[in-house]
Amino acid sequence: MDPSASGIQEPFDLIRLSLSERVFVKLRGDRELTGILHAYDGHMNLILSDVEETIMIVDTEGAPDGQGTVNVAKRRMEMLFVRGDGVILVSPPSRT
């Protein structure tokens, strides 16, 4: 385990492990993406392929006490560049 542990030194190294793998990205504006990560840089700009975008739309008009329904809008894109200033987190896809 020793030689392996020395591999990861900073958070960007973790992201590096996910290169070519499917990742889950959370963005600002209640958006989420899953896609295969092909490129990233220090600003967290990403280039993903086979992307599915999910936009959360909260409908608060359902009930007065704030409990609204959540609608989602999904989109697929073959190749996408994501600007880093909108990225909140990057992680491996949630394994069920």
């Binding site: 590096r16 490129a39 073959e78 190749m79 560049f81 600007r83 909108g86």
Partner: protein, 96 residues
């Protein structure tokens, strides 16, 4: 310089830029700079009705910071090369 490098290879390709104000512009990528400012020619706004003020605009310059996504043509992107370039960038970043 990675993403700048990628965009350099995509000039004269059709891309779709989605801005942070939800405006989506499709056009031919004419030039890009180190701040990822984009120049598009022959633009077409995806939802004309919502943005009528863009109807007369043929070419535009987009400040890099207002971009959310850029949809790229998958066939003009070499994912393997992207990953390699990212690894190199990561290595050089770590060195610095």
């Amino acid at each position: 310089m990675l993403i700048f490098s990628v965009f350099k290879t995509l000039t004269d390709q059709q891309v779709t830029v989605e801005l942070k104000n939800d405006l989506s512009i499709t056009g031919v990528l004419k030039s890009v700079d180190q701040f990822l400012n984009i120049r598009l020619d022959n633009i077409k706004v995806s939802d004309e009705a919502r943005h009528p003020h863009m109807m007369a605009v043929k070419n535009c310059f987009i400040r890099g910071s207002v971009v959310r996504y850029v949809q790229l043509p998958a066939e003009h992107v070499d994912t393997q090369l992207l990953e390699d370039a990212t690894r190199r960038e990561a290595v050089s970043q770590a060195k610095r």
